[in-house]
């Protein structure tokens, strides 16, 4: 075992933080300070209200200068939150920052226990372990790794577009990867945006074309990331470019080929209009699509499927020769330093709540379907109509479909109240129909949103508070004949009501993308229980992840509206920019190293390393760790039969002393 006496005269400073009442409410901080003060090697032991504050940090510096403290232990919150803060404070006072150890007595103690005496004993044991451990700490240096200046943005919705443009405008090269044939995401499908009722297309499409035109952006639509290797500053990303059977460089978007298609009538459901209209096998996703390049659906194209077609599209394209029915998928590789994920959300499948009749009653539609109906460029040219073409005289909105519901999704999707009120106002404007909104609570936070709710009330939209029990076409009275009846308890009036309407709109909530789990694995991230990508800290690092150099923005992190998505996208771009402009990152010095005199040359460590960081020197018959490749997991350290591999920051003697420490206090 490493002899701490070789480590110089150890003088430990111990600081326990009250964190206001967060810790002091459950842990007797002065008692812990008193207990630790009597342990060998401890020169100073203090308790203080907020250790992370300026005066708290100054206290450490003061003791380092006045009392010759050369080891620092702080018992406070999680090291994942403030280890960096305290290391900086230690370093600022002239001590190597790695002569520091943190004890987590908030997240792991005061917040999770209910007995003050037991929580205090636990704090003492954890502090004791750190006091024993910190003796063995050594001065370490961080290593600087250069950052590749290019950035990958995954997802071309409004968040991805904004992040890509922000970085590109800042002079960075950006690869924007989108799996659909066009960028634009959900926002491209919206007519107007709340609460300003400004035209969504008018604010989105200029940004879309800016992406296309920007010299610093490489746009890859109809493409997916299939592999990510490396680490912050040095990612190698493999992208699969699906064949669209069109040469993107040659197509000008004239759409002559679409007109010439052997299918005279469009007969396949149009994804962009959520199936409300039809398209041909060769199509352009929507008029404002970026890039303005047609795409061929291989599942529908006669030539690709059967090889028996007159190929009228190729004829129509003539000299341009942009159509290439033999196109194969392409695999491309790029090097980037940072990655921003803006992969968005999917809408709740309304069929999961069968009592609302979606899929059974044709005039029960989702909020997105109604959105397409009110859009002037939509399938009906902006006419809100029933399936039989009549204009509805009455419309009912059901809120919280797949939100705030223990049977489906527990979370609030945040946008559906505002979105539904917006649609309600547009329906009234377009048709003059009576509109009733069935809600649980109206949630209208944010600038101008409560005012928008007021406006909805003044506009004569009816609000009924209560969760809808069912939608039925079983008429009990002549007025209900031929209508859909919403049955709900009006919890304000205390009665069960039956309200007959022509059309029902289900305000479906947001869910994580179906492949969120695969994507998170690809990028080495975590998801919360609901499936949203997990941010590093809910308040202090909302767009960072636990993987350095991977940032998240928009609805892949959780439900949010357009302004919040854009704010996050800007934040993610700024985080990436900060890393790029500094030019390097400092790597935690927790790498493995080999004490050569002990290495027997058995090579058992070599195949264990997933990063190929361990090589073998044949001449000297010794294993060699390449510190630049080592990620510091410590797997080889635990496996070495001769105990000759060590890990900085997690040395055997440090961990053994921690084990002894937590058990030393009875």
């Amino acid at each position: 075992m490493h002899d701490p006496s070789n480590n110089g005269d150890v003088r430990i400073g111990f600081y326990i933080c009250h964190c206001g009442h967060n810790i002091a409410g459950m842990v007797d901080c002065p008692a812990v300070a008193q207990y630790v003060g009597r342990l060998p090697g401890v020169a100073v032991s203090r308790d203080y209200k907020y250790m992370c504050s300026d005066p708290g940090q100054a206290l450490i510096g003061q003791d380092i200068r006045d009392h010759g403290i050369n080891r620092v232990v702080v018992a406070s919150c999680s090291p994942l939150l403030h280890e960096h803060t305290f290391r900086n404070a230690v370093e600022a006072a002239g001590l190597n920052p790695f002569f520091f150890q943190m004890v987590n007595i908030r997240e792991h103690d005061s917040w999770v226990h209910t007995d003050r005496a037991e929580a205090t004993e636990k704090a003492k044991a954890l502090a004791h372990a750190a006091i024993r451990r910190v003796r063995f700490h050594r001065a370490l240096q961080t290593t600087k790794v250069p950052i590749h200046p290019d950035v990958l943005v995954v997802g071309g919705g409004i968040a991805g577009i904004h992040a890509a443009l922000t970085l590109a405008n800042g002079g960075k090269n950006v690869y924007l990867v989108e799996r659909e044939p066009s960028i634009g995401g959900h926002m491209a499908k919206f007519d107007k945006t709340f609460p300003t009722l400004d035209c969504a297309a008018c604010i989105l499409t200029p940004k879309m074309s800016a992406v296309r035109a920007h010299e610093n952006i490489t746009l890859w639509t109809y493409s997916e990331v299939v592999k990510v290797e490396g680490y912050v500053g040095n990612y190698t990303v493999t992208v699969r470019r699906k064949p669209r059977y069109i040469n993107e460089e040659l197509c000008v978007g004239c759409q002559e080929c679409i007109k010439a298609c052997i299918y005279k009538e469009a007969k396949f459901p149009d994804e962009f209009n959520v199936g409300l209209s039809k398209r041909k096998p060769i199509y352009i996703p929507f008029p404002q699509a970026v890039p303005q390049v047609v795409v061929i659906d291989p599942e529908r194209c006669l030539q690709i499927k059967t090889g028996k077609c007159k190929r009228t599209c190729i004829e129509a394209c003539a000299d341009r020769q942009a159509i290439d029915l033999t196109q194969k998928e392409q695999i491309v590789q790029v090097k980037v330093g940072n990655i921003i994920l803006a992969t968005g959300f999917k809408l709740f499948d309304a069929k999961r709540i069968p009592q609302y009749g979606y899929g059974r009653y044709p005039n029960v539609v989702t909020s997105l379907e109604l959105e397409r109906l009110v859009t002037s460029s939509g399938p009906t040219g902006g006419e809100v109509v029933l399936r039989d073409g009549r204009a509805p005289k009455s419309v009912g909105f059901i809120l919280c479909v797949g939100s705030r519901d223990f049977k489906t999704n527990r979370w609030c999707s945040r946008t559906c109240c505002m979105h539904s009120m917006k649609l309600a106002q547009l329906v009234r404007e377009h048709t003059g129909a009576d509109v009733t909104i069935f809600y649980l609570d109206i949630r209208a936070p944010g600038k101008g949103c409560e005012e928008f709710y007021d406006k909805s009330l003044k506009d004569g939209i009816q609000f009924v508070r209560g969760r809808v029990a069912e939608v039925t076409d079983w008429a009990l009275t002549p007025e209900e004949e031929g209508k859909l009846v919403i049955r709900a308890e009006d919890t304000l009036a205390g009665v069960v009501r039956r309200i007959p309407v022509d059309m029902i709109v289900l305000a479906v909530g947001m869910e994580a993308q179906a492949d969120a789990q695969q994507v998170r694995r690809l990028f080495n991230m975590s998801c919360g229980t609901e499936g949203w990508f997990l941010e590093k800290h809910p308040k202090l690092a909302p767009v960072s992840t636990f993987t350095d150099g991977v940032f998240i923005a928009g609805c892949c992190q959780g439900p949010k509206d357009i302004p919040d998505s854009i704010a996050q996208a800007g934040a993610a771009a700024a985080e990436a920019m900060a890393l790029i402009d500094r030019g390097y990152i400092e790597q935690e010095p927790n790498t493995a190293y080999i004490s050569e005199e002990d290495c027997s040359g058995c090579k058992s460590c070599v195949p264990l390393c997933p990063y190929k960081a361990i090589g073998f020197d044949e001449a000297r018959q010794k294993a060699v760790v390449n510190a630049a490749l080592c990620k510091g997991c410590g797997t080889c350290v635990a496996a070495c039969p001769s105990g000759s591999i060590h890990q900085h920051l997690f040395e055997d003697d440090e961990i053994f002393s921690e084990i002894e420490g937590v058990l030393a206090h009875a």
Binding site: E107, H108, S526, F546, C633, G634, A639, E658
Partner: protein, 170 residues
């Protein structure tokens, strides 16, 4: 029967990325669980040397809990697989040493599973309460005493009568 006020002590080794974060999440969510656990943070469960587990038990822990990322989710791609492999070997050894299986536990707890920290810790505390103290330090003392007696007997028998008794090797 052991003292009803006796509290089992669990030494836990949690990986930085999943289980330690999950325990942080349990804290942030104010999920309450038994205070018998003492967590030691490692970067990866792959760093858990079987010696750590044996030392913890020898030094007085009644149980050891190892927490890592779910299989397939390891931050270092496969460290937890190495942990699993070692754990299976160690388990056989522990069985032969007469240490009950429930005392050493390996759990996969992801960063989002704050509630699983609670259920695992509470469950383990319950099981250890039923088993009673492991008491390895006391057993070591007993064994040392027995050995000393034996040694003294052996030395005494061999020593010629009237000779000064040699110092017993403690």
């Amino acid at each position: 029967m052991h003292d009803p006020n006796w509290q089992p002590r669990i030494v836990a080794f949690f990986c930085n990325w999943c289980t330690y974060t999950a325990a942080d999440l349990a804290g942030v969510s104010r999920i309450k669980y038994a205070p018998n656990i003492r967590v030691i943070r490692l970067m990866c469960s792959g760093r858990v040397d079987p010696q750590f587990i044996l030392t913890a038990l020898a030094q007085g822990a009644d149980g050891v809990l190892i927490g890592g990322c779910h299989i397939g989710d390891c931050h270092y791609s496969e460290g937890n697989l190495k942990t699993l492999r070692r754990f299976e070997l160690l388990r056989r050894m522990l069985r032969d040493m007469g240490i009950e299986e429930q005392r050493v536990r390996l759990e996969w707890i992801s960063a989002s599973e704050g509630d699983k920290v609670r259920s695992v810790v509470d469950d383990m505390v319950g099981q250890l309460r039923a088993l009673g103290p492991l008491g390895m330090p006391r057993r070591f003392e007993e064994w040392d005493r027995e050995l000393n007696v034996l040694e003294a007997e052996v030395n005494g028998a061999q020593a010629p009568a009237g000779a000064k008794p040699e110092a017993v090797h403690a």
